[in-house]
Amino acid sequence: MSSVDPVTLTVIQNGLQQVCNEMDMAFSRAAFSPVIAEANDRSDGIYEAETGALIAQGELGLPIFVGTMQESVAAVIQYIAEGRTAAPEEGDVYIVNDPYLGGTHLMDVRFVRPFFHQGKLFCWLANTGHWPDIGGMTPGGFSAQATEIEQEGLRLPPVKLFKRGMMDPEIYAIITANIRIADQRIGDIKAQAAALDVGARRLSAMLERYGEPTVRDSLGALREAAETRMRAKIAAIPDGTYRAEAFVDSDGVVDEPLRIALTAHVTGEEIAFDFEGSSPPCRGPMNSVIATTRSSVYLAMKHIFPEVPINAGTFAPIKIADPEGTFLYARYPRPVSGCAAEVSQRIAEAVFAALVQAIPERVTAAPAGTSGNFALGGFDPARNKSYVMYHITGGGYGGNAEQDGLTYGCSTIGISKSAPLEVLEQQYPVLFERYALREGSGGAGEHRGGFGLSYAVSLRRGEATASFVMDHGRLGPQGALGGEDGAPNQVRIEKADGTIYRPDHLSKDQGIRIAEGDRVVIDTPGGGGYGNPVLRAPEEVLRDVARGYYTMEQAKELFGVVLLPPAAGETAYRLDRQATEALRRPGLAAQ
């Protein structure tokens, strides 16, 4: 421990956390991009001066960025050291979105600002914001079929967008000349930079109040403290080797599943993850850059141990072997637009599936784990203008030791709300015909999975093209400890002429022509079940049937619960206890 007393350490810890939370709030409130303002697809943090290692990160940021930004800051530091970008001065802000330099996909744009105290670089402030477009072959950037990163959009290495507090109009001009809906980006750029201003002001006040030496000394001690806490958590996991697999449906180009093979070795206070045996790099955009691969493991651990604060020390006892030669370590020019939203969630699922064996009381069965990206671009003849509609959805969460999975939760890596249908229908020529709980989709279990969503939307006028970047179309989210898998994702297009189209890659496709009256039908995954379904209380199965979550037949087949239809003049189902006991006896005996 340092010379700083432990109470002051907590004070500094809380203070740094508050600086980051205020940056998060300032960024979303002022942002233009609905992805940032509504879906909170952004994150803010403080990073060490020499290494870029994470000091503190906002609690309101998108989980996927938990481990990426420190790598972005490290990349900026390296570029400066190599003379590839100019040295930092007061008021500068570097912009970078290169995925291979500590990023995710090109739409996640990082701003990195040096923070000086009395003329000396004290630390870095950085944030990431998801821009609604970054150029490239697909509006919005989520291509299902890109085969090289140039098709995915504009790639920026670290360059100074702000120099001594003034925005460089030339860099700005290059950016806006290469992206769609460029006129609103000035609002996001100002919001993103202003959030860093807020951070700088609050951090200056902290240094003034507690003194630079105290704060500096605290940083090391806080890093140790976070490491100690994570070590204590890992020490409570039984030593051993735990293996799991998860599959991405395909890369969107070659129709073969991509395998994530994960081995977790728990030894005392450390856990080592190894991806050996995972699929090689792929042609389509489902490659993951290393920063995203690591971050996906970190965020899964944070989901399991939410009470541990995040800084570089938190990650120290979590070792991740470089997955060289696999699709989880993408190098230029591999396309990567699917890594942040989809592959990351499969990685997290593999972590959950490995550790639920070791600490079943802490970990859930697999959640739906797809962002459900559906984009529809077209021309609206009634308004005489082009549009691109995005709709992002969730699915069921996995059952867990305490309770059933949450119905229709957001993605594992996100915290976003889905868009109101009334807003979509106001803005685009579409009509939703159904938006319903997807019955029967929750994986059976003692604690069943939550249910997914089933929706149908049709085009009212003009023509459009649809694209999908989803997952879990081939296999549903994994059940745990004897629980069944959740229902897989389904996409189909019901043409006005009565024909039905299903994407070859099940969950990924682009450029599908949609005509007036055609209907897009999407069923999102249910969560995995937890525990043997025959252990589920019959009364809960009865309630689920009364609510229409499952049918009477499913109650019998999946849960071994025999129900009797409502008596004449009644509406309530009844439980046949005797038949249920008899039916369940073999299953229970096997327990």
Partner: protein, 692 residues
Amino acid sequence: MAQPLAKAAPPGTPLRVGVDIGGTYTDLIAQGGAEGVVRLAKTPTTPGDPAEGVMNALAEAGLDLGAVDVIVHGTTITTNAFIERRIAKVGLITTAGFRDILELGRRTRPQPYGMTGAFEPLIPRELRLEVAERIDAEGQVLQPLDPNEVRAKARQLVEAGCEALVIHFLHAYANPSHELAALAAAREVWPNAFVTAGHQLLSEFREYERGCTASINAAVQPTLARYLESLQRRLRAGGYRHDLLVMLGNGGATSAEIAWEEALKSVMSGPASGVIAASWIARQSGLDQVITYDMGGTSSDVGLILQGEPSISSEREIDYAMPVHVPMVDVHTIGAGGGSIAFLDEAGLLQVGPLSAGALPGPICYGRGGMAVTVTDANFLLGRLSQSRLTGIAQPATAAEVEAALARDIGAGLGLGPLEAAEAVLRIANQKMAGAIRLVSLERGHDPRDFTLFAFGGAGPLHAAALARELAVPRVLVPPRPGVANALGCLVADARRDFVKTLNVPLSKLDESELRETFEAQVAAGEASLAEEKTEFAAVEAQHSADMLFRGQTHLLRVALPGPNVSKDELARLFDAAFHARFAVSLPEIEAVVVNLNTTLVGRHADHLAGQTEGVGDGSLEETLVERRPVWFNGAMQDTPVYGRQRLTPGMAFDGPAIVEQLDATTVVEPGDRAEIDTHGNLIITIGEGSA
């Protein structure tokens, strides 16, 4: 313990009574009448039948109900019904294909990290029925409604035992004709008046928020209606001849005859009345920028008063995924209170919260079996709270027990003695609370030096001076009766009516005459509605505002307007100024959009309430001294005077350290601070320089 206070309204002014039901006590404050007296009463809340507590309070105050002119009532009956889900069985009739909107919501998860969570919709799936009908976003009917189908479905729900009904159709804000037709059809077969149509409470787009708002209304409607009926019956039997008014979450009061129709508006009225009282008291003392702080056992409520007016929000979430989109006083609840538990984490660092000991088992010092060290225990051990007179606690634990726990659970690991450990607990608790307060108040672009921290509730005044120092707020105001602020809020509440019209037009295309006509129509509707109240208002004021954003944004910024006649240029200037004040960003590059036009009509009561109180006795400060006791400040026990609040009179002043005790609260004046009683009886603490 009814006790007349010296200062009163002029004789002959109307006798007004404010009664507020809190979790533990029912508080009453009365003022006016033939003798112009002020009376207070505090009786235990009677959860089984809250009306009984109200009658007890009236009896204890010794009021002749026949002579009372107005009773304004704040009740948590709907709040508690909602929180504890003791709600009515509600049925839903909605657009075919969309009955699950209320279960799916716009779901996220309850916390950013941790893949667990549960959500139960207020209306279970088997009671959500669909009818064929569809209207599009432009308000065109795509599929007509068959009222016979509505009647059949309504009957089905009656048979299933539903007590209240919600009718909620897509795009009803754009064209309410189907909801109105369904409402008429359902009423023919529905056995009572509890039928809510979504667009009537909230005529704005966003189907989940509108539907959820309507279902909360339906879920608490029968409870509120029954309660108010019972209370009115008892009041009439007691001789009360006038209209009972009920506090609403927007800070206004409305007639009990109509309050049940929009029952949901009473759900957050408790916190609102506290802020209303704060704005009234602060205005009297000439303070118009105020942060209100009401600290309770498990959580604390924070409100903001700007230019003398409580901040209002139309987008509150009163529970996980339970949005209520009607205008309400913007009170933020932060998860820290006296019961917050202190502990050392695995790395040996001191943490306070988010776990709370609640009321049961409560802090160790309450002697109810609590074992975990809480913020209240730290206050107790350090002498900030009296160890011999702990309000409302029958058998407090001994200081030795609390000391042992602090030494064992906190001190040992930090290398601190029990007293130093208790001070550390307060330091961390105050820092965390201050951070949470800043995030919902000052962080919005305000300068703390312009503000006063208004502290009330049982524990607010205990921490206020330390919080103000942490926030760099220069001043604290503790009202004469911090424990009955909510009842005072009822007493001084005006009648309010809120109106919203959605325009959604670019500023350049705004029709200035349409703006003026919209405001005029809203004022006319408000005046008509206020006329239904059986009260004569001293004045009726209209407040206009516009919700605006830059094209492409989704967060609205409310811009206050000087009146109904505003030119586009002025609107652009006001918006730019408001945006810059809030975000320190100017965006001349992007066009502004006017989304909503709002009018609030305020029916003001005659401001005859001369003041809150005036101390009795005219003696010296020495005479107010209750005792001197050792209290721990800045690392050492200091011999500290304890003053009795009742005897402090305007003009008296003293330096910290000092403690001010009264029945319903304890105020701490820290070393370096100076306390003074102002002409209205408020305790004003000026925060001095000094370490935090």
